[in-house]
């Protein structure tokens, strides 16, 4: 930037450019808000069909919004009262109550009406083959069996409807619908399950809503039945706990790092100006970066803000480069810019090139990171070039003190020609080899969360009591029409029942048999009642009164022989509509299985593969696969970016020097990966982002030292200050309890240390520079 520009012109240029960018962003800002918190929308398109995408969303919503409350007590009446009080408290707190218990009561009436259409294929075949004799046998068995159902309807003497009802899926084995609850008597206690859903986003307001509701429910239970207990679980409760943990950590980590950095700057520069200028530079960088992302995307993801801010932390290097030269360099204030310009521009060019390569990733997350980081770095450099020279004009009055000299001594010592310049890095790399061999990758999103052990134990206890292990995924039955979809699902369930009787299938076809199956049922009954004399004879043959045969015939003749329709089922139990995927072409049904222990998704996928029209979707597996692709692609782009930077360095410094400058960042990278392996930490997308940061810092250190030279004080000081502030900012994250931040912190802690300690290797040994 030309020195001829006046101070007002510089300020105007800087402010106007920033204001223009922000104004453009304001015009582009989407009404739904500036910050988008739906992290999954940052994942790349899954190349799914509309049905799979809709089903995944539907399935996710059903799971993430659910809150389960389990009330138990020794006394049935008191426990029931406590459950009622808890349910009332939950509703008062804004949660939506579940109506499935009452839905089942309404369904019973519908099934009673269509009872002759509800035989399963085996029972229909048996009646079709055995005719009247088979019915007489069923009636006799039902009357004789000590385990036979009591005839609740008075019109089901053979127990056929009772068997259909008994076979209906139970979401919680051992728990039966009981008014607004599911209830059970087990382990010497009465248990009442309250199912509810948050009415707001589960990972935003819904989390607090759920936590508040549980507190209210607990108080209500304590008041209604002091000896009763309440346990609660659900994704919104975990989200609330995670949010609180993250907030608490971020506050104290931010405070600690800010304090440390301010103390360091104050101690080194003994002036207030660096605080103001560095703070302004950081704010301007984040503002410009956010505005650029909004200009391009319409809004900004919260994860971009977090990670992007981390990555443009590199921008502070530019400020330190300037400050070190201004305060402790050997140039006049008016000459500082000229002294730092080569290092600044080279650092900016290499940084922009490295981040710009992420634009090619094709992943929304990486694209946003790239736009954010490039814009932030340019703004940071722009401020240094335009504002710093006109803000720092007087000769500084701070004397050179030992802390300022120490970095230069370190660099000079490390640059002395010595065999240790070879031995130490080689030894470090040798030590890292076992670590590299122990490295493992992990893209499982569950490993990124910090789930409180007590909540996990409660969740496990509730799931164990309910006899329900959440399934690993869901099936999709895609067809042109509902009937075909139902038939496909029936075929799948039949296959599972034969191959894995321990699995409980759950899907619409369990509540609404296909028309084909219903017609087979009606045809079987038609055959049974076709010959009244034969029917009577069959009953008499077993010693049953003929009036019972006549009564059965009269029931059949008076009954409704129409087919049970989807509309009737939906009207009685709207909850069952969740099995139908909205928005998909044709008819798509969503179904699943549960087991008493973990169900292998591979087994379910095999059943689906063997059934035409069926597919199995493993959402967590798909997200993990996406994260893996993200990680791998980001890694390759970083490598490609580094190669391009290498070309830049070769162009600027020649092949030999460029190779020397590339060596320390790569060494830091190797040491970081080796340490991660030794520590058993996984390599995930967060580690890749940390590696980008480490490479960026290492590259900056090499450029600054190379441009400044080992003999000068200011480049060594700039590099040392950068390393220390980075350690305070990001290395502190190593103590985080959130696994994602913890591993990021470990990687940056090791990487920055290694980058700093190896930085002198980018310079030739003394006497050869």
């Amino acid at each position: 930037m030309s020195r001829r520009l006046s101070s007002p012109a510089r300020w105007s240029l800087w402010l106007v450019s920033l204001a223009l960018l922000c104004a453009t962003a304001g015009a582009r800002l989407q009404l739904r808000g500036i910050v988008d918190t739906d992290i999954l929308s940052m994942l790349p398109p899954q190349e799914d069909s509309v049905a799979v995408a809709a089903a995944t969303t539907q399935s996710r919503q059903a799971f993430v919004n659910e809150v389960l409350l389990l009330v138990d007590g020794d006394d049935e009446t008191a426990a029931r009262q406590a459950a009622i009080a808890a349910a009332d408290a939950v509703v008062a707190a804004g949660l939506k109550p579940d109506d499935s218990g009452r839905s089942i009561d309404r369904l019973l009436a519908v099934y009673q009406k269509h009872r002759y259409a509800l035989l399963d294929d085996a029972a229909a075949a048996r009646l079709a083959q055995g005719g009247a004799a088979a019915l007489a046998t069923d009636v006799a068995t039902s009357l004789a069996s000590p385990a036979g159902m009591v005839d609740a309807f008075g019109s089901d003497p053979g127990g056929h409807l009772s068997r259909f009802l008994s076979d209906l899926p139970r979401p919680y084995p051992g728990f039966l619908p009981d008014g607004p609850f599911f209830s059970a008597q087990k382990d010497g206690k009465y248990w009442f399950l309250i199912r509810s859903q948050v009415s707001a986003a589960a990972f935003a307001e819904g989390a607090g809503q759920a936590a508040h509701a549980v507190v209210a429910a607990r108080a209500a239970v304590a008041k209604a039945c002091p000896r009763c207990d309440l346990e609660a679980t659900g994704a919104p409760l975990f989200a609330d706990a995670a949010r609180h943990a993250a907030q608490t950590e971020s506050i104290w980590l931010s405070l600690a790092s800010t304090l440390l950095i301010m103390v360091l700057i104050a101690y080194i520069f003994r002036s207030f100006a660096p605080h103001v200028l560095a703070g302004a530079q950081l704010l301007a960088s984040v503002l410009a970066a956010t505005a650029a992302v909004i200009v391009v995307f319409g809004s900004i993801q919260v994860i971009t803000l977090v990670f992007g801010t981390t990555l443009i932390g590199i921008a502070i290097d530019y400020a330190f480069l300037y400050f070190a030269e201004y305060w402790f360099g050997d140039r006049a204030p008016s000459e500082v810019m000229r002294a730092v310009r080569p290092g600044l521009y080279m650092g900016l060019a290499t940084g922009v090139v490295a981040f710009a390569f992420l634009l090619l990733a094709g992943f929304p997350a990486l694209t946003q990171f790239a736009v954010f980081s490039v814009a932030g770095l340019i703004e940071a450099a722009l401020m240094v070039v335009l504002i710093f020279p006109v803000s720092l004009r007087k000769f500084p009055q701070v004397p050179v003190h030992p802390a300022v000299l120490w970095p230069q001594r370190f660099i000079q010592t490390a640059c002395r020609g010595s065999r240790w310049r070879l031995i130490l890095p080689a030894a470090a790399l040798l030590l890292c080899i076992p670590g590299w061999l122990m490295l493992r990758t992990s893209d499982d999103v569950r490993g990124l969360q910090n789930l409180p052990p007590q909540m996990l134990a409660t969740d496990g206890h509730i799931r164990e009591t309910l006899g329900q292990v959440p399934p690993p995924g869901f099936f999709l039955s895609e067809a042109r029409g509902l009937q075909q979809a139902l038939r496909q699902e029936e075929a799948l369930f039949g296959r599972i029942a034969a191959g894995a009787p321990g699995f409980a299938t759950l899907g619409l076809s369990r509540f609404l048999p296909s028309d084909a199956r219903q017609q087979r049922s009606l045809a079987a009954w038609q055959g049974v009642f076709a010959d009244p004399r034969a029917l009577r004879a069959a009953f008499i043959h077993l010693g049953l009164p003929k009036e019972l045969a006549d009564h059965s015939l009269a029931e059949w003749q008076a009954a409704d022989h129409s087919l049970l329709t989807a509309g009737e089922v939906s009207a009685a139990a709207p909850d069952l509509d969740t099995f139908r995927v909205a928005g998909a072409a044709g008819a798509t049904l969503l179904s699943t299985v549960t087991g008493r222990s973990d169900v292998e998704s591979s087994a379910l996928a095999a059943y689906a593969a063997a059934t035409p029209g069926m597919s199995f979707v493993d959402p967590l597996g798909r997200i993990a696969a996406t994260f893996q692709r993200l990680r791998v692609r980001a890694t390759w782009l970083v490598i490609l970016g580094y190669l391009l930077i290498s070309a830049l360095l070769v162009w600027r410094y020649g092949r030999r020097e460029a190779l020397r400058m590339l060596y320390p960042p790569l060494l830091a990278l190797g040491v970081t990966l080796g340490m991660l392996g030794w520590l058993g930490e996984p390599v995930n997308i967060f580690v890749v982002v940390a590696l980008i940061l480490i490479l960026g810092l290492g590259r900056d250190y090499a450029v600054f030292l190379r441009e400044g030279g080992a003999a000068r004080r200011s480049p060594a000081l700039a590099v040392s200050l950068s390393a220390l502030t980075m350690l305070f900012s990001f290395g502190l994250l190593a103590v985080s309890s959130i696994p994602a931040l913890h591993v990021f912190g470990i990687a940056t802690l090791v990487g920055i240390l290694a980058s700093y300690l190896s930085a002198p290797l980018s310079l030739p040994p003394s006497g050869r520079a």
Binding site: E76, T77, R80, G130, A133, A134, A136, T137, A140, T141, L143, A144, S145, P146, A147, G148, M149, V150, D151, A152, F153, G154, P157, S162, S166, R170, P173, G174, L176, D178, S183, Q185, K186, G188, Y190, P501, G502, L542, G543, L544, P545, E547, L548, H551
Partner: protein, 185 residues
């Protein structure tokens, strides 16, 4: 369901009347079952025998007017139907049978407290000696099907007569005749 109720009445009536007495290690009896269905004036009468012992579990057999067998031992249950066919029942896959099994096992354990989780108990002296016990289901699934159960016993743990009153209006009457060598006081 009747299995649970019969077993419960047979083995726990004595415990309810006489305090925490141990349930019988085995029991066998012939019985006459009279079933009255709502809307039918003619009752259905059947004859059979039943028994329980710790090793072989529960056995229930109708001999007249047709032949039917039900046996349950632990987690295993199977039936022999009037047409001669046989089938296994899996309590894990049949919620009603699973509930029956739970009550059955609880009842045979002689645990009065467990019994009172399902029923309210009322006992009074029978006119001809022994006791009369009334079991009224507490609110829940059993109460949807059963109004009450009345058991008459000659001595603690020795039932003579069981009546089940169903909510549908149906009624079951079972009279027991202890088999020789079993269950004699």
């Amino acid at each position: 369901m009747r299995l649970a109720l019969c077993s419960l009445a047979l083995t726990c009536a004595g415990a309810a009347a006489a305090g925490p007495a141990a349930p019988p290690a085995n029991f066998a009896a012939d019985f006459v079952q009279t079933r009255t269905l709502p809307g039918f004036s003619t009752p259905l009468v059947s004859h059979g025998d039943m028994g329980y012992d710790a090793n072989h579990g529960f056995h229930w057999e109708i001999n007249s007017p047709y032949h039917y067998v039900f046996e349950m031992n632990g987690k295993q249950a199977h039936e022999e139907l009037p047409d001669g066919s046989k089938r296994d029942l899996d309590p894990d896959q049949t919620p009603w049978l699973a509930a029956v099994e739970h009550i059955f096992i609880s009842a045979l354990s002689g645990n009065r407290a467990e019994l009172q989780r399902y029923f309210s108990l009322a006992s009074r002296p029978a006119s001809g000696g022994g006791n009369e016990l009334t079991l009224t289901p507490k609110p829940g699934a059993i109460a949807n099907a059963i109004s009450r159960i009345e058991v008459t016993e000659s001595a603690p743990g020795r039932p003579q007569h069981l009546e089940i009153f169903e909510t549908s209006g149906g009624h079951m009457d079972i009279r027991f005749i202890p088999a020789e060598g079993h269950g004699k006081p």
